[in-house]
């Protein structure tokens, strides 16, 4: 996203401080992405709808407090959504669920001669299960949501080098078992 586009979104957010209907433009633009992001961490449509609605409601309530930090407005939505998901899991006191699209997982790994088989899928699932939550979060944002490290750092409230380190370590663990297509910076 270019600097110009980011500024444009900020101007919409500025307008929404006085006129709440202006916020609708951002809501329509990002609803699907935030919904998918939350759904990947809950695997429940109704809970996702509630958390998604709460995310945008919080954004609307706190629009006045929002400050320009050089990241797209969407990163702020992701950050609120991530906090809402964490709050939800603290409340229900259950382990976090990551519901990953098979296609996205396949994009990560180089296929063997026989192609993608059930065994490889199960092996991948087992290794992903063993990864700490922090690493899964960065993997999700980096490779499933295509976020750059600056945005990831902002969303997870960590430093940019911290985000790079987590991604590198997560991929390093997977690389020991699989022939990964991608490098930690997203390049193939």
């Amino acid at each position: 996203m270019s600097e110009e586009e980011i500024r444009q979104e900020y101007s919409i957010l500025e307008r929404s401080k006085k006129d709440t209907s202006a916020f609708g433009e951002l809501y329509e633009k990002y609803y699907d992405r935030i919904f998918n992001f939350i759904y990947r961490q809950t695997d429940d449509e109704d809970i996702t709808a509630d958390l998604c609605s709460q995310t945008f409601l919080n954004a609307l309530k706190n629009a006045e407090k929002f400050e320009y930090r050089g990241v797209p407005v969407s990163a702020w939505f992701y950050r609120i959504a991530s906090n809402e998901v964490n709050k939800h899991y603290r409340k229900i006191k259950r382990d976090k669920v990551f519901s990953i699209e098979e296609l996205k997982v396949r994009e990560l790994v180089e296929q063997t001669d026989d192609g993608w088989d059930e065994e490889l899928t199960n092996k991948m699932m087992t290794h992903l299960r063993d990864l700490p939550t922090e690493m899964l979060e960065v993997l999700e944002l980096r490779f499933f949501e295509d976020k750059d490290f600056k945005e990831i750092a902002y969303i997870l409230d960590i430093t940019e080098s911290g985000a790079k380190m987590r991604t590198y370590r997560a991929l390093d663990r997977l690389r020991k078992q699989f022939n990964l297509k991608i490098k930690y910076d997203g390049k193939k």
């Binding site: 609803y31 919904f35 409601l57 976090k96 990551f98 519901s99 990953i100 299960r129 939550t133």
Partner: protein, 97 residues
């Protein structure tokens, strides 16, 4: 070690299914309702605070009125005590001589 449950999905969530949950009008209504509740709570809190301060002021003024004469008496008593002590001291000096 992770404590997460990993599930694999064959398909992405379709745009149509997501669209069923998208409702900006409902969000605005909820926002307006929350804003009103917040405003009422603010007014109520200020009202409670003002009522508390008024009650505190009334209690203090009554307490002051109630104990005001006693304090005057105490002062007199203290003055009297000093005079008595001085008189006693003078008497003792005279006796010693």
């Amino acid at each position: 070690m992770g404590k997460n449950e990993i599930r694999l999905r064959r398909q992405n969530m379709s745009a149509g299914r997501i669209a069923r949950h998208r409702n900006y009008g409902a969000l605005l209504e909820r926002h307006e309702r929350d804003r009103k509740i917040k405003l009422y709570m603010k007014v109520f809190t200020y009202f409670l605070l003002a009522a508390f301060l008024i009650i505190l002021f009334i209690i203090i003024s009554r307490w002051e009125k109630k104990y005001a004469p006693d304090q005057d008496q105490k002062k007199t008593t203290s003055v009297e005590n000093v005079l008595r002590y001085e008189a006693h001291a003078n008497n003792s000096t005279t006796y010693n001589r």
